[in-house]
């Protein structure tokens, strides 16, 4: 057991999976000698060499495209896209091929690939370094979309993603990389993909969040308990797709109220699918409209204005109180 931040926890997952399975290799820009711009792959190049930790040329489409070829051959490439804002230069490879090869070849081939990307704002970074774009991947059949919220679950989810026979898009929030340390066990831990976690039990309102927004949801739950005497249930989604509808529905059947918090823009975002799933499964239990606290439907406004865009505690509290009072 060691106290690790998110960067070190992810590094541990990569290290142990590479030690365990020779088919696992890493490819991306600056992932080798430099250890990645966020140091997630630090030291792996020294341990496993340049054939397994590949400093690729700077070309996202070929990083993913070549990764597809490696995966079709039977390897398990972990591709790093340096920032999720650059992934649109390989989006066609992800949508056209990563997600579809199992279907197109009718099971003869599959793409057991993990695509890691730092995402998210609030880190005073430029355009294309601050966005949350999970909705694009969550919408594509054939992919899984995972977003951890802390070091321990990040490590376990990454191990599960590497071992998963289907392609997994794995988002890491930049604001969480060095945010907090957690106890992470030395022995390998896994976590099932497609399962949300109830991280706080409550009876009055369900707060649903993931990634960096989970901290806001927890803080809001603390404040509401203290100041309003309201008991919130907090759900950490962990996997965006496939969505754990069962856990969401069970919670809202109990609480009758739900607030969804995400950093992606609102329209057609994950909140829409979450809300519809709750409506489908818990309509008769609902006491109030389902609320969404999200970034606004505008392109990235520059980090000087970011505070007004990314959800903050005050907005989550306001939405929760409105929902509770409805």
């Amino acid at each position: 057991m060691a106290k690790l931040n998110l960067v070190k926890a992810l590094n541990l997952a990569l290290l142990q999976e590479m030690e365990r399975d020779e088919d696992v290799l890493i490819m991306g820009e600056d992932v080798g000698v430099d250890g990645g711009v966020f140091r997630v792959t630090e030291d792996l190049h020294r341990k496993f060499g340049s054939k397994r930790v590949i400093d690729s040329p700077l070309a996202e489409a070929a990083i993913i495209g070549a990764g597809v070829g490696m995966a079709l051959y039977g390897l398990k490439p972990i591709c790093e896209i340096q920032f999720s804002g650059f992934a649109f230069q390989c989006f066609h490879q992800i949508e056209n091929h990563v997600a579809r090869y199992r279907m197109r070849s009718q099971g003869r081939f599959h793409v057991p690939m993990v695509i890691r990307m730092p995402y998210g704002g609030g880190v005073r970074a430029l355009e294309h370094h601050s966005e949350s774009e999970e909705q694009f991947y969550a919408h594509i059949p054939g992919l899984k979309m995972v977003i951890p919220s802390g070091p321990r679950n990040a490590r376990a989810l990454l191990v599960s993603a590497i071992r998963d026979p289907d392609p997994v898009i794995f988002f890491e929030h930049k604001g969480l990389y060095h945010a907090a340390k957690e106890d992470v066990p030395d022995e390998i831990e896994t976590m099932p993909l497609g399962r949300a976690q109830v991280v706080r039990e409550g009876s009055d309102l369900t707060l649903i969040a993931y990634g960096a927004m989970l901290r806001l949801a927890r803080e809001a739950a603390d404040t509401l308990a203290e100041e309003d005497g309201a008991q919130c249930e907090v759900i950490d989604l962990l996997t965006i797709s496939p969505l754990d509808r069962e856990t969401l529905v069970a919670s809202v059947r109990k609480t009758g109220r739900a607030v969804i918090v995400h950093e992606a823009p609102r329209s057609f975002g994950p909140g829409a699918e979450i809300a519809t799933s709750i409506m489908d499964g818990a309509f008769l239990s609902l006491e109030a409209p389902i609320a969404r606290v999200t970034s606004w439907d505008v392109p990235f406004p520059g980090f000087a204005r970011e505070k007004g865009n990314v959800p903050d505690l005050a907005r989550v509290l306001a939405a929760a109180r409105e929902t509770l009072a409805f």
Binding site: L25, K51, S56, P57, A59, A61, A62, I64, G65, A66, G67, V68, G69, M70, A71, L72, Y73, G74, L75, P77, H92, Q93, N96, H97, R102, M103, R104, S105, Q106, G107, R108, F109, H110, P141, G142, D164, P165, D166, G194, P242, L243, R245, E246
Partner: protein, 379 residues
Amino acid sequence: MPRTVLEPRFQVEYLSILDSDGKLDSSLEPDLPAADLKRLYRGMLLGRRLDERMIRLQRQGRIGTFAPIKGQEASQVGAVSTLKPSDWMVPSFRETAAMLWRGWPLEKLLMLYAGFLEGGQPEPGQNDLPVTIPVATQVPHAVGLAYAAQYRGDDAVVMSFCGDGATSEGDFHEALNFAGVWHVPVVFVVQNNQWAISVPLKKQTHSKTIAQKALAYGLPGLQVDGNDVLAVHAACREAVDRARSGDGPTLIECVTYRLGVHTTADDPTKYRAAEEVEAWEKKDPLTRFGAYLQKKKLLEDGLTESVDAEIAAAVKRFEALGTPDPLGMFEHAYATRPPHVEAQRAELAARLRNGDGPAAALANDPPSPPMRGQRTSRR
């Protein structure tokens, strides 16, 4: 300071062995046994005859839109005939003759173009990728396969196909660049058939050749007469041997011509002159190679009939397939169906059980939407 000339000096070679009448430059004649020569011709003829049959099947509405190969048989068969079965072939969408050579059952190709994904499923152990439609996106896959083969220490070579239009796509250039840096065993075959739907090569690139694009990535590039099966075979043999012996990738530009339509939904009379097509018909790869074999007394009697019988038998098997089970679509989306997909499958299964499924709706299907390059009305 005067400008200095840097060391790299490039040249691009052009290789042709048979002239347009099938006459031979005997100094370049590859040393191929008679049986191999006969097999090459049969492979080309099978590609041509299946293509013609598929056009008729498409016109009758028995299969959907596809991309015919007429004129490109030598480029395809000449290239893949240099691979071992354990090597890998990465096609685009106009490689019928190459796929047949690699062992795709004829009825699978018919199925693919009749809308059955089963037609895109390579046989167990067959190292071919299925048809890829988005232009040039398959080329990086070939590089990844080659990397993996090298990583595992396997003796495999990967051959990727694309067309002249694909050489304008970023994926093509990224793939060549990666292959050069990684020095992996891959051969890039570009079938330069002069036309990317309606856009001629001179509007596609200002380069004099496509072969020279390899030079920028530090790879050898060779231009070859793509309607001369012996030249294509010789060039690809060299490239495959080079890849297998660890000397890295090669780009081969096969200069050929699409004698027919881009796809069965295309009308080339709108964008190119009949005289141009006629001039290329005189360089038909089957006629040229046929004349060469005739002189060597290797042209077999009854070959067309035997090829047609093989095709007829495949068409029969294809037509016996019947209607697909709609629930089949849920089989290969994921390794294990997630709960929401399972629920959707159950929803459709219930509809089918109640008799209100798509079987009844199929009869009233609207016409297929147009494919890339398709015109919705005739002039």
